[in-house]
Amino acid sequence: MSSATLFGFSSWLAAQMFGMLRPIAPAPMQPLLGAQAQSATAYLLVGTFVFATGLVNAIMLIWWERKLLGRFMDRRGAMHVGYAGLLQNFADGLKLFRKQPLMPREADPLGYWLAPTAYLATSLMIVGFLPVSTGWVPGVAPLSLLMALALFSFAPFFIFIGAWSSNNKYSLIGGMRTAAQLVAYEVPLLFAVVSVVLLTGSFDLTTIVNTQIKEGWFAFPLILGLVVFFVAMLAEVERIPFDLPEAEAELVEGWNTEYGGMLFAMTTLADYVRGLVGSYLVVLLFLGGWWMPAGQFTNVVNGFPLAGILWFQVKVYLVFAVFVWVRASLPRVRTDQLLQIGWKRMVPLSLANVLLAAVLVVTGWWPLPKMF
């Protein structure tokens, strides 16, 4: 199977699964799957949009991380290909694209080929449920937040399938760690989301952002929730200090040790797509989405959605910069320490946060009094 086919397959999967779910879904789930994508053309358009947004942003995030990490390490990042190295990652991608995909002889072909494809496809599908500005959402769904998080939690299965079928001990240990870690951190992540939902009363991300535009960022009342969500998101997207599944010092490359060429590029891209989605969610849930400083007075976002998109992107990249900042300054924790932090610290904190949100709602202290 050539890498081009795989690449095409993943994009096809992203576009098709998105739309094809609708006819087979039971009636109560119909509203979940979006009202806009009705025709094949619309599916294709949505798929293209999701594909382009996800992949281009992921590649740019890699550049952004390299540049930032360079400065943290007292050097410059990539700087030779393109202006300030902007094209470096495209060149790397091209190089990987040209490589022959090799599979270990003892590996299980089905799982081996399926895992990166499905990992990338499900990661890209999340982008389809995230609004980026007023009216700019490919899949409008009342439960878009739940859908996004449900897709987000698909990853451990595919990672474990890939790890198991690679028939490599490093992959296996990496896969095991992934399963343990992602399951442990799903809980505080979802509890942190619950607090936001309590305040909003809706699972629709557009509604959540609009509430924040009206009432102020959720980061102010739910600062604890923001911290818990951020830390859990660090673990969910497998970044230092929680990058145990691919701790390169002991597990070579973790669960994707046996993947090379385009397959490796796909897993890396999917990692960064998940990083992008994580930053998106942090901004959408806690940092006011595309809310602009003067937005609520001038209504510039409603009149000119592109400004909202740009503002939103700036926020997302800043949140990702914090991811990189943490990566630059903290060492990797150990397996047992990771699970201890997850179950003993994060879960109680997130519960306290839910309690806080409940108190806010019940007592009527929310919305907070306006400052201006």
Partner: protein, 288 residues
């Protein structure tokens, strides 16, 4: 002079180790964790400090690269330092991408090469071969050809060169697609010389007790081979008086009644005379 090791390595500490106050003992436990500050705040603050510091000009070396304003080279070393540092020989180090005393590709001045073979002899990697090339006067002469596929850039050859015609330059790019291109003929080395790259100005500190060429007069047959092959022409054949029949009945040795005389000032101690001597009558030694 290194101190001879007399005590065998053993597990018990040396008596000197028991001297109090001689060593620092950290019996301190590691610092107590201080909560959120040491968990995240301090490391994050430290990283942020470095980030702000390196925003303007990161101090790690970067390679020459192009900016919209032209080619820029940044290095950790300030050019001012390299300008102010001179070498004891008086030649200042240049301000380039790398130091002048860098041991890179050789430069060979074919004109002044005396074909003494010393570079070839001194090469630990046997990457130097003396090949015939055309000298400045059109005559054939032997000059070194260097195989950079083997060269380890140790600089022993340029240290050995008595005339200073083989030196190492700051040129370091050697990438080719064909390993045969790694063999640099004397002409190519002369081309490098003509580019006037900065050449290593540092000379070897030599010991003073260099031996001289001595002659075992009893063995010499006066064949002129040493004087003929001496690269510096410091050997002259001087006539020696032919002894008369010293004892009746004893034949005089069959030889030419000349023997070499070495001018020690001009001699570069290359040993060519010793190696060409058919009778092994020349040897290294000191006068007196």
């Amino acid at each position: 002079m290194s101190t001879p090791a007399t005590r065998p390595p053993d597990a018990t500490p040396h008596p000197a180790a028991a001297a109090p106050g001689d060593d620092i003992k950290f019996t301190l436990p590691p610092p107590e964790p201080t909560g959120v500050s040491s968990l995240v705040v301090h490391p994050l603050a430290r990283a942020a400090r470095q980030f702000v510091k390196s925003l303007w000009r990161p101090s790690t070396i970067v390679y020459p690269y192009k900016t919209p304003f032209g080619k820029t080279t940044e290095r950790l070393e300030s050019p001012a330092f390299r300008k102010e540092v001179g070498i004891r020989s008086g030649a200042p180090l240049g301000v380039g991408e790398i130091w002048d005393n860098y041991r890179g590709v050789h430069a060979l001045n074919v004109r002044t090469c005396i074909s003494c073979n010393l570079c070839m002899f001194s090469c630990p990697d046997t990457c130097i071969e003396m090949v015939t090339t055309e000298g400045p006067d059109g005559k054939a002469k032997k000059c070194p050809e260097i195989d950079y596929g083997k060269c380890s850039f140790c600089g022993f050859c340029s240290d050995a060169c008595p005339e200073g015609c083989l030196s190492m330059t700051a040129r370091y790019t050697l990438t080719t697609n064909d390993r045969h291109h790694m063999v640099y003929s004397p002409e190519m080395l002369y081309t490098v010389y003509k580019t006037k790259l900065p050449m290593n100005p540092v000379r070897l500190a030599r010991p003073e007790n260099e031996d001289n060429i001595l002659l075992d007069q009893d063995l010499c047959i006066g064949c002129n081979a040493c004087a003929r092959d001496c690269p510096t022409k410091c050997i002259t054949m001087i006539e020696i008086p032919k002894p008369g029949a010293a004892k009746p009945g004893e034949k005089l040795p069959k030889r030419i009644w000349k023997e070499p005389s070495v001018n020690d000032e001009d001699c570069v101690r290359c040993g060519t005379c010793i190696s060409v001597c058919p009778k092994d009558c020349l040897y290294w030694g000191s006068h007196g």
